[in-house]
Amino acid sequence: MKVQLAIDKEKKKVSPGTKIRAGRQLGFLVLLLVGMCLFSIGIGRYPVHPGEVIRIILSRVIPIEKTWIDTLETVVFNVRIPRIIAAVLVGAALSAAGAVFQGMFKNPLVSPDILGASAGAGFGASLAIYLSLSVIGTQALAFCLGLFAVLSAYLVGSRVRHDPLLALVLAGILVSSIFTAATSLLKYVADPYDKLPAITFWLMGGLSSMQMHDVKLALIPILLGAVPLYLVRWKINVLAMGEEEAQALGLNTGRLKILVVFCATLMTAASVSISGIIGWVGLLVPHIARMLVGPNYRVLLPTSFLIGGIFLLLVDNLARNIAAIEVPLGILTALVGAPFFIYLISRRRGGWS
């Protein structure tokens, strides 16, 4: 059942230009990210000279004569590096999740918490703070309720036969509003001198007091979500054509959609559980990436991942350096993100047609 497409008569060149260009762009972004990380370690309340940053890090691997005080080493390894890794991870995870959700729902205005992950995680963390659980308990409860919220949205949505995708989005909004209401109730009954500020601060989102074990805790679910998405990323293109067309092209859309929703939710819930609610990143960064490399997920997904890391690191640097006190990250991403998004959509081809 072969159609007469005589491919073998002459081997065609497979547009090597495009592939090399995409590879170069990704390589450049990786270098930029590494450079930004090193630079970010140096800035802050205790400025460290970039050369010294490199020597302090290298001293862990090879013996280097110590020319710095112990405090500096503590600042670099216990304060700045965990925080920088967390910023990169959270930014990358939210952006990658946002990019795949936008493709799956064929809607460029979708963000990774569309199915209720943030609202669920926010409620989980508030409940944990209300019950005076430990930091790890807070993260675990945030993560579990984030997943639970998306699962309930999925179950509610799947009861509707007619337009499953729309039903899923509506169910997500529904579940989000229920969890947001529950969070408000907790805030209302919480101790106003002690618990209420803690809950409010957590909900604003931020990466201060990040420690290495927090980072490790989030790293596993984020990687568990990122690797399968990376493997199926080309097929997300086909999914973006719409359910029926994708099936007519031979795609098992049901299986792929469950995989994509599960992985993207895992990444979102894991990020929210360590950073609190940080809006705009997952909506904005996929657009920047799409403007740079186009909509093909083969390149778009890794690009969103890298730009997301760079973006949130940049904003977190602002958060800890622009004022005498630290500005909550969630507030800053909204302040930076919203005007930038207006600029993007006012351009003629703002990442989508």
Partner: protein
């Protein structure tokens, strides 16, 4: 590979939109599907593709019932060309055509160099290789339709389903798209095409299938099936089917609506009455 349908009924839930479809499609056939809006043409296509559960009957491909086939296996046998559409994201033409390779890829695979070569070959066959790096959403309707046909060719399925491939195309693009479709059929593909002009059945079809009010109203050669009486029954308009001769002396059948002047006079007369009243 022959496509055989036996007493097929298509519809949603328990409601049959069209029933009792029995036909055979052979290599090189162009089956033109005619029927008024809502007569079940799209439902019929979705059922063949396995997007809708069939209500009754059988569909055989190469002697095997395709009821239990997964989407990928059906897609390797039957390609679908939807009406021109507008995706949300500005994909390049080559990206769109490469999607035709989906059914040939493993669960974690992306198109290889060989797949790209097949996609480029498909663009060549339709003589639109110059569109390769263009943005799909910025093309004209005719170009987009050709890209979707190229995608179906890259799918390498011997049977193509086309849902009104010339709807919303201007005259030049209609002729262009239809002549390419005829070439494809001559190269050995079988095509089922929903048409909105009876003439297309004469110009391009080897068989015609008529749907009316939930049933098959006629099936056979275009000459015997697309008649003045049948068109009247299908669309409720009087037509005259006439033969014209081209400069090369080739006889071509055309389908001309009659009585339009009569209708026009009546309605103009009505207007005049309103004005004088």
């Amino acid at each position: 590979m022959n496509l055989i349908m036996d007493a097929l009924a298509c519809g949603y839930g328990n409601h049959a939109v069209v029933r009792d479809i029995t036909l055979t499609l052979e290599k090189g056939d162009v089956l033109c599907l005619l029927g008024p809006n809502g007569s079940g043409k799209t439902t019929f296509f979705k059922t063949i593709l396995g997007l809708l559960k069939r209500l009754e009957g059988k569909i055989y491909l190469g002697g095997e019932d395709i009821k239990k086939w997964p989407h990928s296996k059906i897609a390797r046998a039957i390609g679908y060309i939807p009406q021109t559409h507008h995706p949300q994201f500005p994909f390049k033409v080559i990206d769109i055509v490469l999607m035709g390779r989906t059914a040939h890829l493993g669960p974690f695979a992306a198109p290889s160099a060989k797949d790209t070569a097949i996609a480029e070959e498909a663009l060549d066959v339709l003589q639109i290789d110059y569109l390769k790096e263009r943005i799909y959403t910025e093309l004209s309707g005719g170009e987009r339709q050709l890209v979707l046909i190229a995608r179906a060719l890259a799918q390498q399925s011997p049977i193509l389903l086309m849902d009104e491939p010339t709807a919303s195309l201007d005259f030049g693009n209609q002729v262009l798209v239809l002549s390419r479709i005829r070439q494809l059929a001559r190269s050995g593909l079988s095509i089922i095409m929903a048409c909105h002009f009876p003439e297309h059945a004469f110009l391009y079809g080897t068989k015609a299938l008529l749907f009316k009010e939930g049933a098959v109203f006629g099936f056979g050669s275009p000459e015997r099936t697309v008649t003045e009486d049948n068109i009247k029954a299908l669309y409720g308009v009087e037509v005259e089917i006439a033969e014209v001769y081209t400069k090369q002396g080739e006889a071509v059948k055309v389908c001309v609506p009659c009585n339009t002047n009569h209708h026009l006079k009546m309605s103009l007369g009505g207007l005049r009455n309103v004005q004088t009243a």
